[in-house]
Each structure stands twice: as structure tokens, then as C-alpha cells.
Symmetry: C2
């Protein structure tokens, strides 16, 4: 029982629901975000900083070529001493083009490395396709990093601006889009750092921003020299690169002085050059980089060469060693080979370790506020933080309260995914899991040949293990109709219903089969469910229906799966199979009426009874799970009550079944069994749930309350 804190906790839970449902923090879609006080306004602040520059220089130049002496970094103190430091709390602007599933994962690792070192507010300008936007919008909304604003720009709209340029580079059209940033980004934006998704920071981005202070009046673009001999030509017979100044420049890291670019007519300039070169060259080989270099060759006064450490390029034939062996400090690593981390390089392991640091880095640890900078959070987030801060750590159910309020960072469609074609009776299997159930996935894929939407509760490091697990599994990597949504771990209790809701929200078919990861469906279930949905004409019925898939279990961990209902019944009679939790929790599936099911030839209707928790097929727009149930216990029961309260009919399917495989008890179940407090807290949650139910359904909810009271008096 919970003597204290219930009303507060209720309020908090409502607040959470509000946050989850309304989506309080829709970055970028709101054009107003540019004008928010805390977001600052790039141009103005920066100008202020440049009007009163404090330049500290030891007198070394910043020109940086691979053959000349100074890299701007050969002397170890140069880079840190030549800074024109932006004032504390100045907003820095970063633009990145990002498209597809893989780049969406890359950009997150890049952002982790930037956030780890940054000490300034950041405004990200993301040029994305629909896939990346969907992923990244959800991610940043749920990540809630202080002092980070994100604006999205639709890459689809930019395609016509660059699609006339023939291009052979693996980045496709998206690479070319960096050329049009000056006309796409807000006019108010004076300067921006442009990054490829395959760079990793190993320093504070503020130091890079400060290099704008070294630009002469004429310079509009800051670039690091290309660290290969590509643009020198003659790498092989008929190798004819685009024109460039010496070794040319690499465009993985660019400082763009936007307003000056506008003034000099950048758009005209690069188009003219590109068209002229394309008269003799058939296509760009390195996308935007070829064109940037051609323009610079013609107008060398436009470029401000940056020290080599700001773009250490790790392609196969890189000359980067000349840079980093001398430098005291690497600032940005650029994985500019299509092989990425698998590139062959004498020091590859060194760079991989730097990158791996952020690949598995817990993103939650990057939610550090910037001391002394005002208004880092939008109001909704601040409310949530206050609610969390007001929880009483001494209260027995504190962990439950805290877990309920926790907004988990969510990375939807973590891996490549092909959405299922629209089919009126299609059904998606919905489930959730953590690392210790990964072994179930292959078997599940063999049993269910339809689409799946799975939520995985993982740490950042585990997400990488999961990625490798799928890549090395022929069964899993062949399946493009399984969508994996990573929900990042945070807190001591398993947020089972929040996970279910993430998986459910991402299901794309009209129907969903709400299952659990340790169940294997009958091989025929996917086809049978679609046929049943069609036959029962669920779409056209007046009444809402939940199709019940009867659940069984085996206690043996080696087990041969029945191929038909007849085989299943034989195993049941032989005692090799049981109805699910028959021994421990018979009421969970009593209403399914297994005796009737044995003989049934047609779907039959059953009534709700206390603690009923069948596995059901429902329309995708069914009620969500109640996120207050965290850890073990009652999480499905509450959902079935909700379905019943909303007058869903329960129809048991005569040929459907699924079988639970044994596994070691989860840590949550162990805690439930061993801790009286845990059970008391669960009881308190149940009572709060019923209070809400009565409030919403009035006297119709009376039967649930009666059932609860009966079960309590039995306990």
C-alpha cells in the first residue's frame, strides 16, 4: 500500500501521458523555434562577438598544406592558443545532410561526440529524407538534450536543385546538397559548420567555430586540404580528376560563411563552374567536393585553409599520418572510405577506439546542462524535471514513480526496413525484449513470416551488439519486414508497457498481434490470422473485436514444435505441453476455455473475467498499454480490461495457438517474488488504475473493481 504521494504520483503519471501523447517538443516543425529566447539568434550573437574580437595568436600562420611545414598544429600550442573564443552560451550552428537508416545511426554517433565536448548551445540544421526525419525527430524529442535545437529541412525539395549533376559517388544526390545550403538555410543565419555524418569529434566544436575569426574579409569557406593524391591525378591510366588547387580540399568538414556567399553570388558561381567542367568531364566522382574544388581553383581567394587536425581523413591511401604524427591533438576524424571502420590503415585501431567510444556511449549522460546559460529547456521538459525532482526518495515505491516518469530515448527503425505494402487484412506481430532474449529472434522469424514491430530495451553498447547480431545472422539479415525499435535503458525497472506502446505505434498494418517474445506462434498462424480477419469481416463489423490466440507452454527446453492443432492436442494429452501458466496463474487464461477450444470448429465468443490476459489480434488503433505498469506484473491484465471496457468482443480462434518456451526467471520476476515492497507497490498501481477506470467509465467499471476487491480479500 501507498500511504503517501498517490495524488502527486497520479498527477505525474498524467503529465507523462500528456507529454507522450501531445508531443510537446516538436523541434523544427515550429518555425517559431528560431525566435525562442533561449535559442538565441545565430547571426546577431555572432556578430556581436566579432565586433569585439579578442584574438590570441602566437604568430604562426594557419595555412595548412601536406607538403608545406606548418599544419597550423605542428607546434603543439598553436591550435589552442590561436582561438577567437566565442562568448559563453553563444549558439553554434551545424548543418548536416542525412538520409536513410544507416546515416541516421551514424549521425547519432557523430552528435554524441560533439555533445560530449561541447560547452555551447547548438542549433542543428538537418537536411533529411522522410526516413531520417522520422527517426531523428523521435530521437531528439525523447533524448531531451539541454540547449540543443533541431530544425529539419526536406531533402526531397532540394533534389531538383542538384539532380541535374551526374554523380558517381556513393553518397548519391545527398552529398551534392551541401552545395545549396546557402540558399536553403535561414537568411538570418550568418555562419554554419557543415559536417558529413561519417566524422567523429575529439574536441570542442567551439574551437572549430572560433576559426571563423581567422577568415580574411574575402574568405567565405573554410576547408582542410585533401589528405590523398586524388586531385593530383595520374593515380591510374585515364584517371582524370576534377580541377583543384594542389591536393584540393576535403568537404567532410566545412565552415560556411553564409551571408558572404549570398553576397558573392555563390549559386551562380558554382553552377557556372560545374556546367563548364561537365562539358569535358562526364560526372562528379566525389560529389560536392569536386565542384567545391573546381570553384576554389578558379577563385582561390575564397578559401580559408583549416589546420589538418580538423579533418583527419582515413581513406585507404590516406596521407593523414603526416598530419597526426606531428600534431599534439586530433580534433575531427573523418571515415571517408566506403569501408568506414574496416578501412586498412596502420593506425586504424587508434581511430576505431576513439569512434567506438561514442558508438557505445550512453546518450543519457550527455544530457548535462550548460552551467550559466539561460533557458536550456523548453517548458514541458522543465515541468517533467520538476515532477521528478519532487518525488520523495524515501517513499517505498519511489523507484516505480521515477520509472513511470522516465521518458526513454527512442530510436525507431534502428535497422533498414521495408514497410509492408498496404493490404487490408495484414497483421503485424508486436512484442518487446531485452538482450537476454535475442536468441528468440531467429526462431520467431521462422515461425512468423509476416511483418513484425519489435521494441528492444538496450543500452547504447548493447544496441551495437544487437546490430552485429543481426548482421551475422543470415535468417535475420534476410528479413526486411521486421522493424526494430531501440528504447534506451534508463532506470531499474523494465518499462514493459512503454516498450509495447513504442512497438505498437510503429506497426504499419491495419491489424496487430500483441504477443510476447518468449512465445512461438504456430507456423500457420500468420496466414490463418489474415484469413480469419477477412472471413470475420472485422473491418466492416459494427462491434470491435479482439481475436484470442490460445496460449500454451512447454517446461522442457528441448522440444519439437507441433505442426497442427491435432499434434498440439496429442502433446497436451501426453503431458509434454500445458495450457499457459496452468499451475501458477490459471485465471490468466481461464476465460479462453481450453475445453471448448479442443472441439471448436468456429470462432467463439468469451466473456472477460478477473485477471484475464490472453494474447490478442486487434486493429492497430486499439487502446495503448497503461505505462504506469513497470517491472513485472499486471501489465497485460490492465490492457485487456481496457479493451473490455471499450466493448471489444473476445473471439477465440479455433485453429490458432502459440507456445511459450521456458527460460530462466527474469530479474524483475525474481525481485517480485522476493520483495514484499515490490508487491505492495504493484497493488498500489492496480488501485490507482481502477480509480482512473471508474473516472472514465463510471458504473461500467464497477465489475473490475469488484474483481479486484475479491482478489485482495483472497490474498
Amino acid at each position: 500500500m501507498l500511504p503517501r504521494g498517490r495524488p502527486r504520483a497520479l498527477g505525474a503519471a498524467l503529465l507523462l501521458l500528456l507529454l507522450l501523447v501531445v508531443g510537446f517538443f516538436l523541434f523544427g516543425r515550429d518555425p517559431e523555434c528560431e525566435r525562442r529566447s533561449w535559442a538565441g539568434e545565430g547571426g546577431t550573437l555572432c556578430d556581436r562577438c566579432l565586433l569585439t574580437p579578442r584574438v590570441f595568436s602566437d604568430g604562426l600562420g594557419t595555412t595548412a598544406t601536406l607538403d608545406g611545414d606548418p599544419y597550423g598544429s605542428r607546434n603543439r600550442s598553436t591550435s589552442s592558443l590561436q582561438l577567437l573564443l566565442p562568448p559563453k552560451c553563444e549558439m553554434l550552428h551545424v548543418a548536416i545532410v542525412c538520409a536513410g537508416y544507416n546515416s541516421s545511426r551514424e549521425i547519432i554517433t557523430l552528435m554524441k561526440s560533439v555533445l560530449f565536448y561541447r560547452k555551447n548551445p547548438l542549433h542543428l540544421h538537418l537536411i533529411t529524407d522522410a526516413v531520417a526525419r522520422n527517426i531523428l525527430e523521435t530521437l531528439f524529442r525523447t533524448w531531451m538534450v539541454p540547449a540543443v535545437v533541431v530544425s529539419f529541412y526536406d531533402a526531397e525539395e532540394l533534389k531538383p536543385l542538384v539532380s541535374w549533376i551526374p554523380n558517381k559517388h556513393y553518397s548519391g544526390l545527398y552529398g551534392l546538397m551541401k552545395l545549396v545550403l546557402p540558399s536553403v538555410l535561414p537568411l538570418s543565419l550568418a555562419r554554419v559548420i557543415v559536417l558529413d555524418t561519417d566524422v567523429t569529434f575529439s574536441s570542442d566544436i567551439m574551437e572549430l567555430w572560433a576559426l571563423f575569426g581567422h577568415f580574411s574579409d574575402k574568405q567565405v569557406v573554410g576547408l582542410v586540404e585533401n589528405q590523398s593524391d586524388w586531385y593530383l591525378g595520374n593515380l591510374w591510366k585515364n584517371h582524370r580528376p576534377w580541377p583543384a588547387l594542389g591536393r584540393g580540399f576535403n568537404t567532410g568538414v566545412i565552415l560556411l560563411w553564409l551571408d558572404r556567399l549570398q553576397q558573392i553570388g555563390w549559386e551562380q558561381m558554382w553552377k557556372l563552374t560545374a556546367k563548364r567542367e561537365l562539358l569535358t568531364l562526364t560526372a562528379t566522382s566525389l560529389a560536392d567536393q569536386d565542384i567545391f574544388n573546381a570553384v576554389i581553383k578558379e577563385h582561390p581567394e575564397l578559401v580559408h585553409p583549416l589546420p589538418c587536425v580538423w579533418n583527419v581523413q582515413l581513406s585507404d591511401h590516406t596521407l593523414a599520418e603526416r598530419c597526426y604524427l606531428e600534431a599534439a591533438d586530433l580534433k575531427v576524424i573523418h571515415w571517408n572510405s566506403p569501408k568506414k571502420l574496416r578501412v586498412k590503415n596502420k593506425h586504424a585501431e587508434f581511430f576505431r577506439d576513439l569512434h567506438l567510444t561514442f558508438l557505445g556511449f550512453d546518450g543519457k549522460l550527455l544530457c548535462r546542462e550548460l552551467f550559466g546559460c539561460p533557458n536550456q529547456f523548453p517548458p514541458g521538459v522543465e515541468q517533467l524535471q520538476q515532477a521528478l525532482a519532487q518525488l520523495d526518495e524515501e517513499e517505498p515505491c519511489f523507484e516505480f514513480r521515477q520509472q513511470q516518469l522516465t521518458v526513454h530515448r527512442v530510436h525507431i527503425t534502428f535497422l533498414s526496413h521495408q514497410p509492408p505494402p498496404p493490404r487490408p487484412h495484414d497483421v503485424t506481430l508486436v512484442a518487446q525484449l531485452s538482450m537476454d532474449r535475442l536468441q528468440m529472434l531467429e526462431a520467431l522469424c521462422r515461425h512468423w513470416r509476416g511483418p513484425m514491430s519489435l521494441a528492444l530495451y538496450l543500452t547504447d553498447a548493447e544496441a551495437q551488439q544487437f546490430l552485429r547480431f543481426v548482421e551475422t545472422s543470415p535468417v535475420l539479415s534476410a528479413r526486411k519486414d521486421v522493424a526494430y525499435h531501440v528504447v534506451y535503458r534508463d532506470g531499474p525497472l523494465y518499462p514493459v508497457n512503454q516498450l509495447r506502446n513504442v512497438a505498437l505505434a510503429q506497426a504499419l498494418t491495419p491489424y496487430v498481434f500483441l504477443s510476447d517474445i518468449d512465445f512461438l506462434p504456430a507456423y500457420s498462424l500468420y496466414d490463418y490470422l489474415r484469413a480469419s480477419i477477412e472471413q470475420l469481416a472485422l473491418g466492416r463489423r459494427q462491434r470491435k473485436a479482439a481475436l484470442v490466440v490460445p496460449a500454451f507452454e512447454t517446461l522442457h527446453y528441448r522440444f519439437s514444435f507441433p505442426n497442427s492443432k491435432a499434434e498440439l492436442l496429442t502433446l497436451l494429452d501426453a503431458g509434454s505441453l500445458h495450457t499457459f501458466r496452468y499451475h501458477e496463474w490459471p485465471q490468466g487464461h481461464a476465460s479462453t476455455d481450453y475445453t471448448r477450444w479442443r472441439e471448436a470448429q468456429a470462432p467463439y465468443r468469451v466473456q472477460w473475467s478477473a485477471d484475464y490476459e490472453p494474447y490478442v489480434v486487434v486493429p492497430r488503433d486499439c487502446p495503448r498499454y497503461d505505462p504506469r505498469f513497470v517491472g513485472f506484473g499486471w501489465n497485460k491484465v490492465a490492457h485487456i480490461i481496457e479493451l473490455d471496457a471499450q466493448e471489444y468482443e473476445f473471439l477465440v480462434l479455433p485453429e490458432a495457438f502459440s507456445i511459450h518456451l521456458p527460460h530462466a526467471p527474469s530479474l524483475d520476476i525474481s525481485r517480485f517474488r522476493s520483495s514484499p515492497t515490490y508487491r505492495d507497490c504493484l497493488q498500489a498501481l492496480k488501485e490507482e488504475f481502477h480509480q482512473d477506470l471508474s473516472r472514465r467509465y463510471g458504473s461500467a467499471a464497477l465489475k473490475y473493481l469488484t474483481a479486484l476487491q475479491q482478489s485482495r480479500s483472497r490474498a
Copy 2:
């Protein structure tokens, strides 16, 4: 089969064995290490740097008081611009006092934070008790961080130097030892940074070292002002702190100018002051810090005040906010409250996140070399790296070869541990596990009431989860006779035999029971084994014996454990229990002769037969497991062959038994079952093992080879 690379791999495996057995890299014990070329020599190099100082200053002073204006950091550019940067590759020296299990964990987190940001070679001077030395020597030897030298100094020898000082601080005598460092560290050492174990770095330690360059000729000790009102006195009635200059100074971070301290007679000085103050004050409240402050009060010219950001103190009533809200950059965080991370503080979460970053940080990622610095590795490590580099990535068994060569970082006795008292017949249960078997520990503790030595294969983050798991389990936290040894994950294959060897090497009783984590021993087994060892007079026998504990299994995951052999036989007859792997791998335990065991009243001798892998009790000095067997398969079989070859008698104990509980198949077993390459590589390992066996035992090993050939012709 392995067509290529076998001789090379053999050589590599031998090299690994050599490395593991001989201990090629015993830091510190070797007084020569000071003179190694790659270690450099602190004093000389530093002096060189100071003779030609390049000081860049923007004119702001560095004095730093909480009430005065500049913190030396209020202006964001101060700290980075006022540096006297030591030359690239200069060795920096750090001294830390560390005693006991908890501080040994703390110091590792501290070192991770230092290593993450450092760009210079480091020499650690560790003043340790026996426990910490044992842990840290193993850890640093197996960590193999480039350009880090570690020297150990025995704290026991320093105790008499400070034990005369009455002290009430929680750090005990060890805190006071910082006072005697100038007389303990090598005379050749001119300067050293002294750190408490409870600080976390958030910056490059080279910047701290550079502050020596700001000392005046007279200054000998650099300290940050104390960030509380403690030394102002009157915090409560009769609060009478030691004398201090204003708020006094905190000694969590100290710059010690050692040779100058020698010159001014530091030892005389602090003793005189301490003795005088102790005439009126009964004891030190804050250990060394009280005495440092009393000396400074008398000789203010000795202290060089450091910017507050170099020791941000997070006690309960800290005034640190005045420092960090203004600063652009925090350099060092100091958890100087006995509550540590649980301290109440408005910004506690910010600081906790910084600390947690390194708590769960993968230490392996810190093995980055320092580009451009010579001789970072001792010769043994370089040989190992070359062997690894020479492996052929395209070879089918590459992963096996790589895993065999991997030296895992090992943290022995990760948690507090009470070694068992010496008893001639005592026996330690030895096993290994990873995170997915943590649930077994409580049951195991209930079944086995004797000492255990367990190796855990974990990531750094999992090690922290494991720590919390034990802390929150009343069963586990009550057991001080269980030693947990963390072996850090590295590579795709489970290094099962390396883990077993770590656990075996740390067993402290004369006998060991070599078990597996998913077996529960009979409740009586511990007592029964000790009695059997005594009765069989194993210690006095001429012949070596291995006592066999018969193994059973249940396929049911709910199961009531038999209290006696009689009960066990009943369950066996009822089919609820089976002899272990009877269905899949009967030869593994065939020699145990279960039929005979049913009736046996006394121990009986059995003969080795092919693939025999019983669970046995042997003397602690038994042969080690062959570390070439990684992943799944044949790892115990090879060990039993080794015992048989060394003429151990196998004696089956008539009342002993242990039962295997079911669990989901491990990922390694799944891979074994699904991959033909995996099986081929295992077969290759077996053959190499037999070649070694023939080499060592000659014709006596013939029977094992015959058995292998028979099994191959069957396959």
C-alpha cells in the same frame, strides 16, 4: 580444418602462455623501470621545459579565492591561455594513496578519466596496502595501456611515520600518508601531482601539470581553496577546526614540488606544526588536510593557489557553485563527501553523469597509443601486438586465433572479500559466468556454504550493474567468502578456459571444486567434500586424486531440489531427473558409471575414456585449463585428459551430486550448432592440443590420439 596458419597460431598460443605465466610486465617491482628509455626521467625533462618557458598569458592573475573576483577561470579563455605547456611526450608523474577493495575500484575510474584526456606518458606512483597492490598490479599488467608506468610503494612501511597522529577522518591513516610523500618518492623526482582516489578528471592532466610553471621561486605546494566554510569555524557549538588561511585549502588535488620541499625541510616543518597544534586540538578531523593548512597558515609563502576548477568539491554544504556557474570549463571533480555519488546537491546529476561516463567506460578503448612518442610498450607487449597483427583476417579460424591471443584486463577481488582461514581440508567452489547467469548466484550461495572463487566475464558497464546487484541482494552481500574476479570482455568468443584459470588461480584453500555456474550442488556437498578429503587423506597420499562429483540435470525449470541421495534416486526413477546430458552427450559422463554409483557405499576408482568431462575436486595446484579452447566445446574434456596424463586417479564419491538447471542456449552454443566453420575450427584446436600432448607425454598420450581419431571417423 585449418589448412593454413597452424604453426604460426601455435607459436602465438605459446607466446600467450608465456605472457600469462611469466608475467612479463611487472610494473614497479623492478627498480630499473625508472631508467627505461621510454619511461623518460621526470626531473630532467621537466627542468628542460622550465628552462625555456613559453608562457602565454592574458594578464589575469591565478589567485583564486571564493570571495575574491577571479577564479582564474571566470574569464573563459584564462585557463586555456595561461598555459606553460610541457613538451609533447614529456612524462608526467602522479602519486595516489590507495588501500582496500573500494578504493581500488575508485582509482580505476579516476585513471580512466585521466587516460581519456591525457596526451602525455604517465608515471603512476601508487602507495598501496597488500589488497590494493594485489588488485592493481594484476589490473595494470593485463590492461597494457601504452605509455603508462606504474610503481608501487608499500603503505605498511609508511604507517609508523604517521600513526602517531590522532585522526578522526574516514580516510584513516592512509589520508595522512600524503604528508610523507616527499620522503618516500624517488629523490630524482622533482615534481608530482597528488590525487585522492575520489576525484574525476574532465580535462587533460597536462594542463594541471603546466600550472607548476606559475609557481614563484618560494612556492612548493599548489592547492585549490577549500569550498566550504569548515575552516572558518563556528559551524556548530564547539566546532573548532585546525588553523587555516581563510577558508583553507583542499588536499584532494595537490601539486607538490618535491625537491624544493626537501630543501626547505618539509618533514621537520609539518611535524613541528602538527605536534604543536595537537597540544590543544585532540586529533585531526580531516587528516593530512588539517596539517597542510596549519603549515600554510604559518608559511603562506609556500602555497600556490590553483584555479577552483581544478578541484570542484561536492560535499553536502559545498560552495562550489560559486566556482562552476562562472567557469567555462570544469577540470576536476572531487567527491569529497563520505556519501560520494549520493551527495545532496542542486547539480548532483550533472556531476554524477560526468562520473558515470568513466565508471562504465570500456577501459580497452583507453589503450590508444600516443602518436609520435617513442617506446610506449615494453618488449613483451609489442611482440604480442605483432603476433596479433600477423594473423590473417581472411583465415576461417581468425576469430579463434585472435581470441586466444587476447589478454583480458582482469580485476581480481572486485568486491570486498574475507579470505578463508587456513584449514587443511577446505575446498573452494570454482566457476565462471557472464551477466546472463547472475540469477544463479543466490541459489548457489544457498547450496554451497563454503568459499567460492568466481570469474565474471563482463563489460565495464556490466561490472557496475553486477556491483549493484550484489549490494541489493541480502543473500549475496552477507557472503564475504565469495571472491568475484572480473575479466573484461574483449572479442566475439567466450574465453571459457581463461576465465576458469583466473578463478582457479585466486582460490585460496588447499582444494578446489571445479564446477559450472548452472549446476547447484547438493546442500551437504561442502561438508561432505571436506570430510571425504580428510577421510581419504588426500594430502598424504602418494598418488594424485581427482574426486568426481556425479552430475545430473533437470529439464524442468521449476523443480524441487532433492535433500539426499535417496530423494535424488526417486526423482531419477520418476524421470524428473536425468544423468547429465544423457540424451545428447552420454560419453561426457559415461566413465562415472551411474549404475555403480546408485549402489556405491564407498568411493570407487574409474578409468578415463574418450570425451570424459566430470566435475572434480582436486588440489589447488592442479594443471590449468588450456586457454586455446574459446567459445563452446571441449574445454573441460581437454582438462580431464591433462589430469589423466598427469596420472590423477578419478575417484567417484558415493554421496556427492550436483544438478544442472535448464537455461536458454547460450549464443556460443547456438553458433556452434549453426556454423560448420565453427565446428571445423574446434576440430583444428583439438588436433593442435593433441600434438602438444604427444610432445609432452610421448607414447603415454597415444591413447588420447586414438580416441580422437575414432571419434573423427565416427563423425
